[in-house]
Subunit: 148 residues, 4 copies
């Protein structure tokens, strides 16, 4: 399956509720940001994750890795950059970079999530709407593109 | 319907993730504590909320009121006290008091939640398991007990 | 102190992380939305809450009331409307209305939060930046405007 | 620095607020569980993380990795098992295993977090209270124990 090289950038404002007593964005707040970025990445490609779920699909997170490089603080404006870096028939891997939204962006965090495609709760090929999108936006040059 | 005068106390340790940049437990962390206390109140009365949901029931929160009296901090041990203070055929009202878990408890917050009983998504009488429990534990003396 | 009649509307996309097993936006997700709307209301009036905090100010939530009128779901686009409805020397009261972001908005929830103004942890007059903003945007006609 | 081979097990009840529209515990709920387990691991060893923070220490999370093996659901009783698997002068690495709390435990997730020790916001040796605890509870046999 060809790799999507499309990168989407989601702006994000750190909420007060997402901070902790250390005065920083809590490390446990980041997974919801990555997830929101995935939904926007799909939408930018014409796919509604809400619709996928109504059709019985689910991209279950089976692995998540985060590196916290520099702290983010309340009210910081961040950019979450996301790309699909690997797609097999029943698996997808996304890479993320969170940077400060400034002229000279500072790297805040990097992350990877791995997903299994489920349909009606069972392992299944990636949803057609997502595969169709890969076909049109991707190419096979990416270092991590893999066929099954 | 008779009032349940049973009071349940749920101990709770404030998690770091529940604090905010002001160094205190974030006010938005409290609703999950009240909810956990409701589940434990039901369990103490022999009712599993997970089972109720499997039977198609849901006690939807339609109103929530919180008064924040004194701050709570990371790692504080709290007691969430809960009682059912009103039960009508399709409605339930719980009162809460959150206090510090010490010899001389300090009041941290008080709260009220109002719930509508739903079955398969439609307004319905309170689940039988809950009504049965009211019959055995309650009496009609409470100031706010009401019949419909 | 005159009332600010300025209304701010903050768009909001319901995150998957903010839903619960009932398939709806969890009632405990709303307080963070109200808080984000307060920050944007302030910003629209030229006041940065992050700056206020750096100056030692804090608008502590001492009361919160929410009415849940209709459910919100994952990926729903909502509008959080907020207005300052009462300001005394050391207290502020905000009203909120959450509606669906559509041509024919449906009311999702209403809410009120009451805040005490703290400076260096002690009860203090509202921050000058906020008072200045009240002076220029408000008038004394509001039903709930109050002087102290 | 010797390795602590002490394993701590923290029981945990999945809250309704921690579930999502897929009907499962949301993957973003787990980091707060790991964090709570770290605090309890420290407490079981006689160290209060709240006290460490009052002394100016902070164990900043710089990396987190989670593998989601089987879903957890609302009201599930889980056990979070935690051990310190590596300690250098300014770094600590914890491993976690989340299992169902039953006679025949099912593995729900595994995780690793890496922490840097900060004092007054600057990289610093691990707090003395933690080092003292390592000396008494640990030995150097662990595969990943490392000296600096």
């Amino acid at each position: 399956m060809p790799l999507s090289t499309r990168i989407h950038t989601m702006p994000l404002r750190v909420r007060y509720a997402e901070t902790d007593a250390a005065g920083l964005a809590h490390h446990g707040s980041y997974p919801a940001w990555l997830e929101a970025a995935r939904v926007e990445w799909l939408r930018a490609g014409g796919v509604s994750y809400a619709d996928l779920e109504k059709q019985g699909y689910h991209l279950a997170v089976v692995e998540m890795r985060l590196r916290y490089i520099a702290p983010a603080r309340f009210d910081d404006l961040l950019h979450v950059r996301i790309a699909l870096v690997r797609a097999r028939s029943r698996e997808a891997l996304f890479d993320y970079e969170i940077v400060s939204a400034s002229e000279h962006p500072r790297q805040i965090a990097t992350a990877t999530t791995r997903h299994l495609s489920l349909h009606q709760g069972r392992l299944a090929p990636l949803p057609p709407a997502l595969r169709a999108q890969l076909d049109t936006t991707g190419d096979a040059q990416g270092a991590r593109a893999e066929e099954e």
